[in-house]
Every structure is written in C-alpha cells, then in structure tokens.
Subunit: 351 residues, 2 copies
Amino acid sequence: MARDKDRRGAVTIEDVARHVGVSPMTVSRVINNFSGVRQSTRENVLRAVAELGYSPNPAARSLARHGGRRVGLLYSNPSAGYLSEFLVGALDGAQRSGSLLMIEKCGASEDSERAAIDRLVAGGVTGVILPSPHAESVTAHEQLALHNITGVAVGARLLNQQPNTVRIDDFAAAAEMTRHLLDLGHKRIGFIKGAANQSATAERLLGFETEIRKAGRAASALVEEGDFTYRSGLEAAMRLLASEQPPTAIFASNDDMAAGVMAAAHYRGRVVPGSLSVAGFDDTPIATAVWPELTTIHQPVAGMTETAVRILSEAARGKTPSAPAQPVDRLLPYKLVIRASTGPAPRPDAS
Amino acid sequence: MARDKDRRGAVTIEDVARHVGVSPMTVSRVINNFSGVRQSTRENVLRAVAELGYSPNPAARSLARHGGRRVGLLYSNPSAGYLSEFLVGALDGAQRSGSLLMIEKCGASEDSERAAIDRLVAGGVTGVILPSPHAESVTAHEQLALHNITGVAVGARLLNQQPNTVRIDDFAAAAEMTRHLLDLGHKRIGFIKGAANQSATAERLLGFETEIRKAGRAASALVEEGDFTYRSGLEAAMRLLASEQPPTAIFASNDDMAAGVMAAAHYRGRVVPGSLSVAGFDDTPIATAVWPELTTIHQPVAGMTETAVRILSEAARGKTPSAPAQPVDRLLPYKLVIRASTGPAPRPDAS
DNA sequence: ACTGTGTTTGTTAGCGCTAACATCGCTACT
DNA sequence: AGTAGCGATGTTAGCGCTAACAAACACAGT
C-alpha cells in the first residue's frame, strides 16, 4: 500500500503477477481473455486484479501490439446531440480493445471530407468510424477504399458500397412506435419524414406504413415532408394540424422534429398529450429537455460506437488489411421509451 | 515510399533521424520544442518531419514519459449539450500535450462521485478535470485532496477550496447580453435565474442587475427563479408573461430555459422576437435547434477543456505533485452571438 | 517406460519514445 | 597551455505491455 503510493499510483501488470505468483504473461492472457489459461489460475488473477485495482495501461498496450491499432473517427457536427454519447462509446471501446483513437473533425463539403480522411491516414489509422452524415457519403467510402482502409458506418448504411455497418433496426422500431400509438386508440396518425438522403428515413417511413396497413381500415395516415430539423417539424405539424381532420397523434422521425411538433401544438392550443400525442425517435438530449418529455425510440449510441471500434480493432488483427473477412452488418437492440408526450386518443371522434 | 507502405504507414522518429543524419534524441528535442538545439539542425529536422509526414506516436510518448501523465475526466450527464464539445477539447488537449485521458462516468450522489474518483486514482491519474456539477462539489475536491491529486474546475468555481479554474467571465457576459437588450430599446426585462448551487448563477444575475442599475430609471427588471431546466424556464416565463406589465424581453441564464421561454411565448401567442425577445446563455445545441434560433453567449467549451488538460499535464511535470505552484484561474473569452430570437422592443409602450 | 499430442506457463525481445547521464567540441578565462 | 564552463549532440536504459517462441507438464496410446 505505502509502497504503491510512491509508484505514481499506477499498478502494473507485474504487480499483479507477483501478487498471484505467476508471470506477467499469464496475467496478460487473462485480461485479454485468451484461451489456454487454467480456470483456477484465471480466477486467481482476476481476484488480484480486483484487489489491486489494476487497469492496463492503454499506451503500453497499444505500443506492444506492434504499432498499435489506431482507429479513426470522423465527425462534423459537434453540437449534434448524439455526439457525446458517440464519443464516450468510442473511448470505451478503444480502451477495452486497447486501440488508440484519432478524432478528426471535418466540414460538410466533399473536399473537407477527403482531407480529413487523408489526415487520419497520415496518422496511421487502420480503420475509420463514420457516423451518420459520412456513413452515407460515397466520397468517404471511396477515399477509404483508395487507401485500403476499413470503414464502419454507424447508424446508417450505404447499400451499394462496402457495407460494414452497426445500426438498429429502424424499420422494426418505427413499426413498434406506430403500434404503441395504435394501441392507445389513435386512428388518424401523422408522420413526418426525415431528410431524403439518409438511409434511416426510408426505413422508418416503411415501418410506419407497414404497421398502419396492418391495422386496415381502423387507421389512416397523413405523411408530411421533413428534414430532421426542429423547424421542419414545426412547419410540418402546422400543416397537419391545419388539415380538415387533423391527426390525434404525430410521429416525427426524430426528436428535434418532435420538439418542433410540440411547439406547434402549444401554438395551436393543443394540449400534449391530452389532445395530441407526440412521438419522436433517437432519444437525444432534447427528448428530456422539452416538457412534457418525449416518448421516443432509444438508440444505444454508445454501444453502437463501441461495437464499431471493436470490429475495426479485430479486423486489424487479421493480417490482410485489404480483405476484412466478410462485411459486417450488426443490428443492436433499440428500446421504445414511453414518456409523457403520448397518451390515449382523446375520444372516439374519428369518422 | 514503397518501403513505408509495409510499415503500417507509420513513420517513426528513427526514420526521421536517419533521414537527417542525427540521433533520434535530437529529433525528439526538436519536436518537443526543447532548447539546446542549433537553429540549423532544428530546421533540418523540421523539414524532414514535414517531408516524411511524421507524427509522433502518442502511446510511445506517454509510455516513455515515465508512466505518462494521465489526466482524468469526470462526467455525469452524458446528454448534456456541452459534453461532446467538452470531450473533443479534452481529447485535443491530451493529444497535444501527449497525455492520456481517462474518462469516468459517475452518478449524482456523493458516494458515486467518490467512487469514480477512486477509480480514476486507481488508474493512476495525476490530475482530474471537473465539469460543472462536480466542479462545485466539496466532496469531489475533498476526495482529490485526500489522494493528493490536482483538480481543475471548468466553467465554474468553488471559492473556498483549491481554486484551479478555467472559465469565462460570466459576470461580464451577462452584462453584455443585458446591454444588447437595452440597446434594442427594451425597458422591462425579465431574468430567469439558474440553479442556486452553481457558481455561475450568481455571477450571471449580478451581471444582469449591474447593467440594469447602470441604465437607471430607463429600465426595470423582473427576476424569476429557475433551475436551468427547460421546464423551469417555461414556468418562469409563464409567470413573467402573466404579470401586469409583462416584459418585452426575457433573458434566461441558460439555453434550455430560454427554449422553455420560447415555448411559453408561443403558447401565449407572443411572436418571437416581434413581441418578445428571448436570450439564452451557453450556446448549446438547443440554441440552434429551436426556431427562431437563440441569441446567446457562446462559451469556448472545447478550448476551456483543452486548457484544463494542458494545465494538468504541465503541473504533472513539476515534480512536487502536492504543490502545483500557485492555483490557476484562467479566464477565456466568450462571445455574444446574436441570432434571430432578439429584436427591437415592440414600441414605446412602457410607462 | 517412451513417444506423441495437447494444454498451461514462462522467457526473450522489442514496440517508439524520452529521462538522465555521458560526451564532444568549443570559447574564455587564470 | 590548461582547464573550467557551456552549448550541442549522442548513449543507455527502460516505460508497461504483448507477439512469438520455448519449456514444462499432463495424460493418451503402444
């Protein structure tokens, strides 16, 4: 204890090894979850790890792993609600897989995207994570292919390119939300579409429509255009609420638009959820910032990024960088989060 | 060129040294900006660095710097709008100063805070960055002192504890915003306070009041309670707008509350900024999510965190960890961002 | 008993970089 | 001339960890 204090507070793998009475290598094998360690030994080591509060030094790790796998992360919109979770997930994944993270910001233009990727390449990354605006960018995928580097799209997919993806089942999630609304007795349901160039937009719409169709004549849908911004949600809601038979529930394909819907509802004197139910998608910070808080679909953003990092870092182990086995399309579980913005349909006033 | 390709794309310090015809150590001295290198040598090295596209391996660096300075970062609310910027800044600062970042999440309770700090300590950090909820926590500072570790508060300060701080001048910023409102001709201005336990709350209020007082009888203020949440902003605005002589402008001490004010305004049929100007503070994502977009005070969050990391990493160089020279209180420049939510006062209808 | 096959553990070396000290000139003195 | 003193550079060692190989051990079959 006293001895440890001098040592800058850091417990090394050797301390653990000595404590258990094995070689550092064995400890290394245990913490990396390698096979070929007797069960009892493994347990001893794990106990010591816990006792001493050991946590591996990521720098040393990355160094020892022959140059260390470095994974890059491209981002463009630092104020997007999901980014912080995104980063936390990436950091976690990096730490856990012992790889180094290089974060690079880029603008919206294709040139800027290309430049950012080049910077990443210069930094020696073996793989790059692409969140939504870039996940769908042909430019980005091309530039990566040019340098023979693996990319993983998170939360979206680009069908005709190399399709490494980590995402949720947008179709099923939208369907589930729609069912939730239907179950509450809503007959006329408005839907606000997202930006046309994002892959999730189509899937969410499809999920909605499919569920509505399943309900048969018991339900009808009103679909409006939107582009994922608050303002587009507000305007779409204004149109919906001005229609002859306004909906009793509006399902916006993301939270920002749903917040816009709520503003429109307030403006038109509709009480949420008393006279209008509102549902969002993504569970971004704004979902709990507004009042009443939004019913929405929670995406495990951090988990998705962590998975992406892990995929990349494992792919880097496979010696042939060009052929990352077969492309991965991992689907993670989403969750319907019911908060205060949805409630029973007002009354049987439908036609 | 071809040779480099095999080498995982990474150029090492040795490659540079060989290319120039000096020892690696000299290169190291140059890239670390150490004195004691002849000017001509320095230039040669720098040229080679540029030519070869060398970038130092942060892992090796951190390892070689004897255990490497590790700085910890405590966060609790992953959905806070500023977190992503916060992280980006920290990452940047860490990379630039060659230190390692350990990010630790913790809950709101004191126990959870203590536990998180202990985990950080076990991980061997030499300093910890404390964003707002923790910056003001006596517990956090005590726990750090217990382990003899330096803390830096970002965006807030705790006066009677060890006051390493990086922040903006909340007082001046609030005053400037108030002046902006005054300049637009507003005479009756509402102000919504923040949570009582945060240091910024008092300073912002003071800045506001000081400026109002300066205006003399030309202006009057209505101050309402709030706690930095959307809902509290909405409710405070409702009270403000229901008063006999409602204000023509409302200055909320953060963006979330300002968004709540806008909702209240819509609800009461007030057009923003036509009949009511709304101002926020912080320039978080919500400021541009709402419509019209908020006039607010921009904080250089990323810069603040980067500075904090640098302070910590420099303090770690000074051998005596207990006495980090004298405490630092660094003030960074803020910026008044005028968007669409503020405009000229409706008309000279004031008493 | 003795080789073969597999499982568990240890050994050696080195990832890329930088403290700390050693060295090599060189000028400036006594 | 001799040597202290200084600035510029090189050398050695090692940060904490893990590949790759080597060794030790177990137990099967012959």
